[in-house]
Symmetry: D2
């Protein structure tokens, strides 16, 4: 289903080369004066360096009155303007390697082959809009993400990387035990981002090779005077214990695989099982990771907004 969240809930729609992409935000508290400029800034971060440049002009259809949330659903639409669908004509009946062409066809029996259709990362624009609103809802909790590793740059090739994210000022006691752990909810949110292939909290995979006496986060003694919460000397657990925030910063990383549209020709598979070598013409970036950081922030913000 195309809905994220339970209380703060985003439902998105739209194909890459359809009329529009957009969404409905449901469960946003009333009486919040939305900072439109902050939304605009996040959209700029999302499209920085992209070959396909869209204006991303948002039309607000409901839920706001003089820029103030009313508690009713906030619907928004962003028209797709800069499409070059003819670039994709040759893909109508064959599947690129590394893309979701084949899996969509298997699931639905048809697909919109233009620009990746629904599977395109174009849909993340709706996540960024909703995430920018979520950030305003959860203030003073703050979220910051950035690319901390990018793969090897090489002529005529693509690469991926890692985004690191840090959530600060989140009080202790947020999250659910057992299944809906805060770390599980964050993993779910992050792994839903296009090209995400790994997730780790705190020390992450490195923790698997540590001794317990190295890993364990020792109490720093006393309670934080400003909020009466405990602090630890290290933060290997990434700010969550038993699925519930402990008051320390929540820290995690998301790995992204390289962009799967290569600049050079690739062998595609036809519905008949034949191979066909194609030069895919669509505008595809060499590396999406710097742009993914704001999407990571958006998903984290919506996860937190859904829980508090």
């Amino acid at each position: 289903m195309n809905t994220f969240g339970n209380k703060f809930r985003l439902t998105t729609y739209g194909e890459s080369h359809g009329l529009a992409v957009g969404g409905i935000i449901d469960g946003c508290p009333s009486r919040i004066a939305i900072d439109m400029e902050a939304i605009h800034r996040d959209l700029v971060r999302r499209r920085q360096g992209a070959l396909r440049q869209e204006e991303d002009e948002i039309e607000w259809l409901s839920g706001l009155k003089d820029g103030i949330t009313m508690g009713t659903p906030i619907a928004f639409t962003i028209r797709n303007k800069n499409t070059r669908s003819e670039d994709y004509d040759q893909l109508a009946d064959c599947y690129r390697p590394g893309h979701a062409d084949y899996t969509y066809e298997q699931k639905y029996g048809l697909r919109d082959h233009r620009g990746g259709g629904r599977a395109s990362a174009r849909e993340t624009v709706a996540r960024v809009v909703a995430g920018a609103i979520a950030k305003q809802v959860i203030a003073p909790v703050e979220i910051h993400a950035e690319a901390t590793l990018t793969g090897p740059e090489d002529v005529n090739d693509t690469h991926g990387g890692v985004v690191s994210c840090r959530i600060t000022s989140l009080p202790a006691g947020i999250g659910e035990p057992i299944f809906n752990k805060l770390n599980a909810r964050l993993a779910f949110a992050m792994m839903s981002i296009p090209s995400a292939i790994g997730f780790e909290m705190g020390a992450g995979f490195a923790a698997a090779e540590m001794k317990g006496s190295e890993y364990i986060d020792r109490w720093n003694g006393g309670l934080n005077a400003s909020n009466n919460q405990a602090i630890t000397k290290t933060n290997h657990c990434g700010g969550i214990q038993g699925g519930i925030s402990n008051g320390m910063p929540v820290e995690f990383r998301v790995a992204f695989h390289p962009v799967v549209t290569l600049p050079q020709p690739v062998e595609c598979l036809t519905a008949d099982g034949e191979m066909r070598t194609l030069q895919v013409n669509g505008r595809h970036d060499r590396c999406q990771v710097p742009r993914a950081a704001v999407v990571v922030e958006a998903m984290a913000a919506m996860t937190i907004a859904d829980l508090i």
Copy 2:
């Protein structure tokens, strides 16, 4: 909430040193003859090498008639017998480092301090029971997990490790696009396991350092004769594209941090912010990873059962 899944749904209950742990499985199809021996085998795998040895005798309260599922809720109870609650008396008013003692107290304002209470890995017994049933529901899909890395063994210390899991015979087309991606659902399931701290599909974090031309899974040409599905030369994506299975094996790994109960005395925090050095007496294993493999299988089986 203590429920996992939407269609195939497990709700669990129970504290480590309470009367019992157990659960209700809802949405299990009718007319399946349950192989009780298979459930027993998985429970044995879960408790192998554990210091606290429970018989894990299951009482089936509903949902079965002559061992056949009726489509009605399957409730089961496992009594806690081998508890030594007096070991935990000293923890009633102080919080161990690395445990969920403090976060539960922050969330609920009270907790059952005996044996970790609800936060204990004791609750995974219910997951294993439901997972063993889920495996029978999803046949011929098969799931196999095992510990492929364990941290450094050292006298007087604990360690963690990595569990690798492989799902075979899953047809292409399973999973949802956008938010409820199969990989996102698996990440959610795995990160809910006690001590899980990282998750990666296919090439995982290593993919972040690969070039696109290395990473991309090329078509092998032709379709698999037995099921008419496509195959790829490599499986760096881990069997999922655009959130939907592509017919190749689904492969992922889960990192576990070291056991957080150290054999030596540790400094605990009291509610007043004081430090108190305690020797925790409860029976705690040095490494939980070999036992975690069957829990990984259980969560994977329930995730798949929920989607097909």
Copy 3:
């Protein structure tokens, strides 16, 4: 939350005098050729006799390719054109009797007072669009509703009535036992329609005054040759037993209270607890029941589409 359904799911948005009303249909099966004319006919039924005449021109933003569903979210927008917001200026700071003005203000702390805002029956246009699609999804199941009672017509007054609905060709075995009974789901759907105040299945409230020997639906003997299903001599239960359809027509009635905007001046309440006599100028119908029939059909169709 502004979402109806679990598998076939409608999320709506829009205020009566905002830019637009509309929705996102999620979970609609792929490869259905939508009959746009049928949607148009239902929209005509919904606005027949209404004082405020809107064209209800639908813009389809996603999910369709050449009029065929793709399995992706179907987003649609209907612009509000024929608004006369100035009619409502006097209501900005006072609450009409019988309306949701006061309750919205209590819940959200603010409201859009123009034309009832989100609480206006204007939002049912999105239900009718989605319902018309749901009808096409559930074919050959058929749904027919009509006004079977309208209250006393009188000069200078409003009235309500009863809509009767019949679902035919629904096979036996549809619905869930215990909480999500088909009758409970229908009651939920119908009571969500603006002005609905009562719901009854089959013999309904009259059954409370019958003897068991009169009420019980006796088997007619043999099985229906065309579908091998049982038939009963009467249908007092309305086609559902234990929450599950029994193959007979599903029959229910929905009572609607009179339109609460009276033609004559009424005493309104201000936020300060003062009374103010106002003549409400908005265009309000004397009786909404004939128009409500198609909304009843829409909600029934979505309920069934969600279950099969």
Copy 4:
């Protein structure tokens, strides 16, 4: 699915003649001292006058510590003791009229024919337990239901009736607009009770025959001094406008059809479409309505607990 509610959530299990019935209450706030005597009183009300007398002894398996809720799932089990399954042997292969025998068989392909199996009103014992806890959670909101009409008593026959319910001290502003209206949620809850066949709020079906000027609830002037909320001269709407409580008592009625097990022999249908006249021996009451009142209260209490 066998779960009711979203935040305050009950999942039930158990067949009438199985080992036990029971449930898991999830989402109950922590630190509530449960009044066990109040639960006992409601269970006594539920079984008053019943032919099958069960002790309804509750075993609490989790979630409580010294009678105080911990915020973790509360699991409870009630053993079935007073079963006479041999009374039902003759029903193994045929379907009684008016019962869910046929519909369960159609849905699941098998059923527990003893005492109605899962479809038996025996399952309402779990609702009453959870409802009694919900009442304590929502205090000072109060709920009172009673039978206000019972059908014609006659020798050798059964009858039904009507239960009226009143919720007081519920503040204004509770409920959701559009689909999850408080009245829709109550209708859903009530129509899920075995034998419920009609639901109406306030003036209900009678409102369909009133003029608007009679129906409309006029403001009484001023605000209630004790809670600063508005009051109306009448309460024809039943305390809910636009799906949201308005601070007046919430009032509704539930119609129950007659008990469908007649004292005299009835014609049953076999799987082959044959008719067979049977005297059903199970212990069945002549009228269930007085006992249903406490179930109505339980469902109302859980509905309110889920929303506040």
